[in-house]
């Protein structure tokens, strides 16, 4: 029973982790906390729904169209909305992203209405069943898919940032934009790329979670909040921190939901996180000094 809940927690947590990752990469490179992040992904889930359920395209093609659309949304928001106002205060930037959230929500409502739309799982076969000792663990195939895709995204991102020239250049821009320019790095291009990555990750998360949440304008609300929390727990600047933060929250939430109260699981998890942050304000893997002011 405990193991079953921990496995379920890892699956939910892995979704929190990639949402956190998408938020953190955009934040590190451009310094913007994107409160519209989940809602940008939601639009892509609708694009997927439109391609797959309304137009009858195949699953993989719809998936690629929706993720590509998500990367385009990321690019457009950074280039068109945030870059022109780069010099205003971080707080004003946050307000702009909150405004964007409302615009996206309204747009989705206008185009697709308020109904809960269904997206099927890609994998619908029999769940995997593991037996050991007296216990039994059931893992639906879709969850294996989620875990596989999330792991692949995380590995790809870590390799990109640590081994490629462009990835290193992006980290340089995150650490010191002016000095990066002196090296010949086009920092504006790096900012665009970071939002393209962030946008496609957001779309991916929305499509993966859609079979459980259904597709509707506020479908990403809880995932976005938990993704933010995971990022904060991880220190908001650290990629491993976001992953550990996301998975921990997923596990805590599932255990609280099972053994204490389903209704209180969000409240309880957030309380635990507040407690952790009181003890360690910089987050699990955050640095104690602020790099980007």
């Amino acid at each position: 029973m405990v193991f079953q809940q921990i496995i379920a927690g890892i699956i939910t947590g892995s979704l929190y982790a990639i949402v956190a990752l998408g938020l953190v990469i955009a934040y590190k490179v451009t310094g913007v906390m994107n409160f519209a992040y989940g809602y940008m992904g939601m639009i892509s889930a609708y694009i997927f729904f439109t391609c797959f359920s309304m137009m009858g395209m195949n699953y993989i093609l719809s998936f690629f169209i929706a993720v590509t659309f998500g990367s385009f949304v990321g690019y457009a928001v950074e280039r068109g909305l945030l870059r022109p106002v780069r010099n205003i205060s971080p707080a004003s930037m946050v307000i702009i992203t909150l405004g964007l959230l409302l615009v996206l929500e309204g747009t989705a409502l206008q185009i697709w209405g308020n109904n809960y739309q269904q997206i099927p799982n890609l994998l619908n076969g029999l769940p995997f069943i593991l037996r050991f000792g007296g216990g039994i663990i059931v893992i639906p195939q879709q969850n294996i898919l989620i875990l596989g895709v999330v792991t692949a995204v995380i590995i790809a991102l870590i390799l990109y940032l640590n081994l490629t020239f462009q990835g290193k250049a992006m980290r340089a821009v995150a650490q010191n934009e002016e000095i990066a320019k002196l090296m010949g790095i086009n920092s504006s291009l790096m900012m665009s790329i970071s939002w393209i990555i962030s946008g496609s990750i957001g779309a991916l998360a929305a499509i993966l979670v859609a079979p459980q949440t259904f597709v509707y304008p506020d479908m990403m609300l809880s995932l976005q909040i938990m993704g933010f929390t995971a990022a904060v727990l991880g220190g908001f600047e650290s990629i491993p921190g976001s992953i550990i933060g996301g998975i921990s929250i997923g596990i805590i939430e599932n255990l609280v939901g099972t053994y204490i109260s389903t209704n209180l699981k969000t409240t309880f998890s957030l309380a635990i996180i507040v407690a952790i942050l009181i003890v360690k304000p910089e987050g699990l893997l955050g640095s104690t000094k602020a790099r980007r002011v």
Partner: protein, 238 residues
């Protein structure tokens, strides 16, 4: 413009709001020459270099290798062979020593063999960096960070290397070592434009100097013609 000048600056002006930090200066750097801009704190030296690197808005004409770079975007300047080694080093603390050097070669990133060669050259010049290549740059000592900043600036083989206060915060022994290295770098064919508060050490390696006061050059000329004592008392405030 004389053909042996690789850098020619005409009427350079830098303003911060109503304050003029640099007020219409004219100067040049010859091929393979070492030139210093000296002056007290706040005289406009750093602003001059930042303007040349394109980092701050400026007026006037900057010609580098017969090309007008007055309006060139900052990230395109290293591709032309003009590199600034910034004040306070500006290394990337969360990247390894070797990754810092690699990023210095960003402008020549297509040429992997040249990058490898240049890394070897930097390690030959600064052995300490070779010993610490896997270490995070933020964990280096001040002197090592300065070596890294200079090594990184050399990675894209600049024709003109600009340095902003390389002696800042270093012990006299390390300052001597850094300036010996600058001599070596210059002998291998790189021109140097140096901004320094430490006038004595800068004059040792420079063929010409410009002394800056309130955004203008008060004195300019061959180093050997300038009397150090007068310079010190009148213009450097030390």
């Amino acid at each position: 413009m004389a053909t042996d000048h690789i850098l020619e600056v005409e009427n350079l002006t830098v303003k911060y709001g109503p304050i003029e930090a640099v007020r219409g200066t004219n100067f040049f750097v010859g091929n393979q020459e070492v030139v210093s801009i000296l002056g007290a704190n706040g005289a406009g030296k750093s602003s001059t270099l930042k303007a040349l690197a394109g980092l701050i808005p400026h007026e006037g004409k900057i010609t580098f290798l017969s090309k007008d770079i007055s309006r060139t975007e900052p990230y395109k300047i290293p591709y032309l062979g003009l590199t600034l080694c910034p004040e306070r080093r500006g290394i990337f603390p969360d990247l390894s020593v070797e990754d810092n050097l690699l990023l210095g070669a960003y402008a020549i990133r297509k040429n992997k063999n040249l990058i490898k060669e240049n890394i070897k050259k930097v390690y030959a010049l600064f052995q300490r960096l070779g010993e610490r290549k896997r270490q995070l740059a933020g964990t280096l000592s001040g002197g090592e960070q300065q070596m890294l900043a200079i090594g990184r600036a050399l990675m894209n083989e600049p024709k003109l290397l600009m340095l902003d206060e390389p002696s800042l915060g270093l012990s006299p022994k390390l300052v001597d070592f850094i300036f010996d290295s600058l001599k070596t770098i210059n002998k291998s064919g790189t021109a140097i434009l140096l901004v320094e508060q430490n006038a004595m050490i800068a004059m040792e390696i420079s063929s010409r100097i410009y002394v800056m006061q309130n955004g203008k050059f008060a004195i300019s000329g061959n180093t050997k013609d300038v009397d150090f004592q007068t310079l010190k008392m009148k213009y450097l405030g030390v």
